[in-house]
C-alpha cells in the first residue's frame, strides 16, 4: 500500500486533525515522523495516498495549520 503523511507544527495540531479526519470517515494512523523527513513535532498522520485529495480538502475546510504533506 502507498502512503503519504501530513506533517504538523505541534502534537495538538496533529491530534485535532486526526479527530476531524476521523469524523469525515478518512482513515489515518498517528505515527512518528519517518526518519527521512523532518518536522517541528515528532508525530504525523499517515494516510493512503489515494485519499490525498480528500485529506487536503478536509484539512482546508477545517482551516488546519499544517506543515505539509509528503509521500513516504
Amino acid at each position: 500500500m502507498q502512503y503519504s503523511v501530513v506533517l504538523f507544527h505541534s502534537i495538538t495540531g496533529a491530534l485535532q486533525a486526526e479527530k476531524r479526519l476521523k469524523k469525515k470517515g478518512i482513515a489515518t494512523k498517528l505515527i512518528p515522523v519517518p526518519r527521512q523527513l523532518s518536522s517541528d513535532c515528532g508525530v504525523c498522520l499517515r494516510f493512503e495516498r489515494k485519499d490525498e485529495v480528500e485529506v487536503r480538502r478536509a484539512l482546508e475546510e477545517e482551516r488546519m495549520d499544517i506543515q505539509g504533506i509528503r509521500a513516504i
Binding site: 502534537i11 495538538t12 496533529a14 491530534l15 498517528l30 505515527i31 512518528p32 515528532g42 508525530v43
Partner: protein, 193 residues
C-alpha cells in the same frame, strides 16, 4: 540426556508440573498427553524456557518432543540460556507530565515497536495499560501485528475487571498475577514504561 514422560490420564496442571521438573535435567524430552489443553499448556511452558517443540498426534496420544536449543557459536553443544525480554506497560500513557502528550507517545511507541526488527518476547499490560489492548484502542492493529510475529501479549485480569473491560479484550489474552510475576522474574531484561 533424553527422557520420556507419560502424562496421559493426568489432570491439569500435573502434565505441566512434571514437564517443568524434567526440563531442568533433560535436553531432549518426550511428553505424551491425551488432550489438546495439556498439549498447549506443556508447549507454551517449554517454549517459554526456550525449548523447541514438535508435535506428533498418534493413535494412542499426542507426543510432544521438547528439545533444548544449542548455541552454534559455542560448538553446538552448550545449552542456550534463553530468557525472554519482557515489556511491562503499566499505564496507557508514556511518562508523566501531560496526558495528551503521554497518550500520543504511547501510541507512536507501540506502532514503532510493531515495525521494529527487535521485538520483546512478551508484552504485559497492567493498570490503565490494559486499555491499550481493549476495544476502541488506537493500537489494536499494531498489537495484532506483534502477535503475528509471535510476541505474547498478556493483559492483567484484575486490572481489566477494575475498568469493566474483561469482555472488551481485542489483542492478547487475559492473564493473572502468578503468570505475570513469573514472567517478570524469569526475564533477562524487563523494560518498564
Amino acid at each position: 540426556m533424553s527422557m520420556i514422560i507419560d502424562a496421559r490420564g493426568l489432570a491439569c496442571p500435573q502434565p505441566v508440573v512434571l514437564t517443568k521438573k524434567a526440563l531442568d535435567r533433560a535436553d531432549d524430552l518426550t511428553v505424551i498427553v491425551d488432550n489438546a489443553a495439556a498439549m498447549q499448556n506443556v508447549s507454551r511452558m517449554a517454549e517459554s524456557q526456550g525449548f523447541g517443540v514438535s508435535v506428533d498426534e498418534k493413535m494412542d496420544g499426542i507426543y510432544l518432543r521438547l528439545t533444548r536449543p544449542v548455541d552454534e557459536s559455542l560448538g553446538g553443544k552448550v545449552p542456550l540460556l534463553f530468557e525472554p525480554t519482557v515489556l511491562l506497560v503499566a499505564a496507557s500513557t508514556l511518562g508523566r507530565g501531560d496526558d495528551e502528550l503521554g497518550s500520543t507517545l504511547m501510541r507512536t511507541f507501540i506502532h514503532t515497536l510493531s515495525e521494529s526488527d527487535i521485538k520483546p518476547h512478551k508484552i504485559i499490560f497492567m493498570n490503565s495499560g490494559v486499555k491499550l489492548a481493549t476495544r476502541g484502542s488506537e493500537v489494536i492493529d499494531d498489537l495484532r501485528a506483534l502477535e503475528k510475529e509471535r510476541v505474547e501479549i498478556l493483559a492483567c485480569g484484575t486490572c481489566l475487571a477494575h475498568f469493566g473491560l474483561k469482555d472488551a479484550v481485542e489483542a492478547g489474552r487475559i492473564s493473572n498475577m502468578y503468570e505475570i510475576t513469573l514472567a517478570l522474574m524469569k526475564a533477562t531484561k524487563v523494560i518498564s514504561i
